[in-house]
Point group: C2
Chain length 300, copies 2
């Protein structure tokens, strides 16, 4: 099966104490689509302006990503995020955001996308996420990612979305914020009450937690000696996870734990370079080797 990934397709300029990296390929959908592409065919739903470099289109194509649903707005400017990391790579601040063509964008899905089975609503406004869902016939498994921004400015639309998706992915501080509960484990049942049958809380270098009808699963992160740029790691995690799930088919419950491990491994590569620089050089062999290693270092 294939995965449909909708989200932002962006140019990211990332500054760290050690380097400047202007106009990298970025955005939640870019990271997630490339991550998923190692496991299965991917359809990308996004929008860019005519300033979007041809080389990035080629990069998507190199990964076999179907671009039928990537809108190119003539004369428009691509969404641009620029941010800065501190020395420890944990704190980042946004320097500038130019919405460009993403401002008010509402995707219209081409016919072949309407029958998508595995759907990843990567981080973007919940209005867009809901609009994508409106156009799908009978998806098998829908995952939504979100961020604090949407919880702050358009909570009602997030809550409407949550009633329609199978799985919500968010980070620990967002989980606490959404249900006003300091303890992440205690937050899980409250998050289920908002709709999703599956909740996945991302904790960065500390791994992730799944709460599902089968109970809890505590997933490890791949331990990295060096983090170059964590931007897109969460998107890579969920993209890799969805790609693995779609490649397996069958029961989600049977494959979700291993899917999270594969997502964690793709996310680890993402952190080792700026933007998608390392992720796009990954091979299935490299992923398999790191999965094997991760299983070894968590085995009891």
């Amino acid at each position: 099966m294939s995965v449909l990934v909708a989200g932002t397709t962006a140019l990211d300029s990332i500054r760290t104490p050690y380097s400047e990296n202007p106009k990298l390929l970025g955005g939640s959908a870019s990271h997630a689509a490339v991550a998923a592409s190692f496991f299965c065919p991917v359809q990308l739903v996004g929008v860019v302006g005519s300033d979007f470099p041809r080389k990035y289109i080629n990069l998507y194509r190199k990964h076999g990503i179907d671009l039928q649903a990537l809108e190119v707005v003539k004369g428009g400017q691509t969404f641009h995020w620029s941010g800065e990391y501190e020395v420890n790579m944990n704190n980042r601040r946004t320097l500038e955001t130019i919405l460009g063509v993403i401002d008010g964008w509402m995707p219209a899905l081409p016919g072949p996308c309407e029958t998508a089975g595995y759907v990843l609503l990567a981080n973007i406004s919940p209005q867009v996420q809901n609009r994508v869902l409106d156009q799908l016939r009978k998806p098998k498994f829908v995952v939504a990612d979100t961020m604090d921004l949407w919880l702050n400015i358009t909570l009602e639309e997030v809550l409407r979305l949550l009633k329609r998706v199978d799985c919500l992915v968010l980070n620990d501080s967002e989980a606490r914020q959404l249900v006003k509960e300091d303890n992440v484990v205690a937050a899980l049942p409250k998050l289920h009450q908002l709709g999703p049958k599956y909740i996945i809380v991302k904790k960065g270098e500390h791994g992730s937690i799944l709460s599902s009808p089968k109970g809890l699963f505590v997933a490890p992160a791949y331990p990295l000696h060096k983090v170059v740029d964590p931007t897109g790691a969460g998107d890579s995690f969920v993209g890799g996870m969805m790609g693995y799930l779609a490649s397996k088919g069958g029961s989600v419950d049977s494959h979700l734990r291993m899917a999270m491990v594969h997502g964690a491994v793709v996310a680890s590569f993402c952190c080792e370079g700026f933007g998608l620089q390392v992720t796009t050089k990954v091979t299935q062999e490299k992923i398999a080797a790191r999965v094997k290693e991760l299983l070894k270092i968590t085995k009891l």
Copy 2:
């Protein structure tokens, strides 16, 4: 086999936004000794004043802890720590520390302690830890815990200690501080260079990492819905771990991963009550049930 536990035996007064808890049984050795006692016989090396409540002596005894090496200083005041936790239970600050009889204390081990095989130098000054080691004949496995205070005020003595122990246990911020390395995974080889063959980095609710000749092991924490008081959780973790190891005997490498899981479970009980209130009510059955659950929620 038994475990010899040396460290602080204290009275702790713990304040949270919800309650005041004066003069609880506390101290690194108290938490670690009780934690170890669920698995094997324990010898406690510590010092208290004549103000130390009889009920706490009885509590040690109830756990079968050998008190031959617990010095009672007539007219002396027991070490007293008082601290306060913030709402999220992650940040704590010390309100008052009264060293009392622990000030300048140097333990003299009675004969039966000298042949101890499994030795836990729980958190106390490295001078005391070194002095305990000086008196041991041929220990099989020596673990030292430490804290930022000793890295700040008596680093040389810590470094001398590290050349003499098999395993160092410390938390992630202390690991970073000790070898001046922001990334915990990258800190591990540098920590080994200081002496210990085994390094265990505690990450609280995020579990722990072991680095050993057998490679890395990422151990989970038991996910808790509610943390009442995390004081002593790290001591309980390492105490439970050492108790389990001693109960198994044989090769440390064969049992260390499972020992860390047992330590994590005892630590989870510790967090559910003030001081040792919940830990001292734990049974082997309750530990076994939680271990089983922890294995289930991490299984792939």
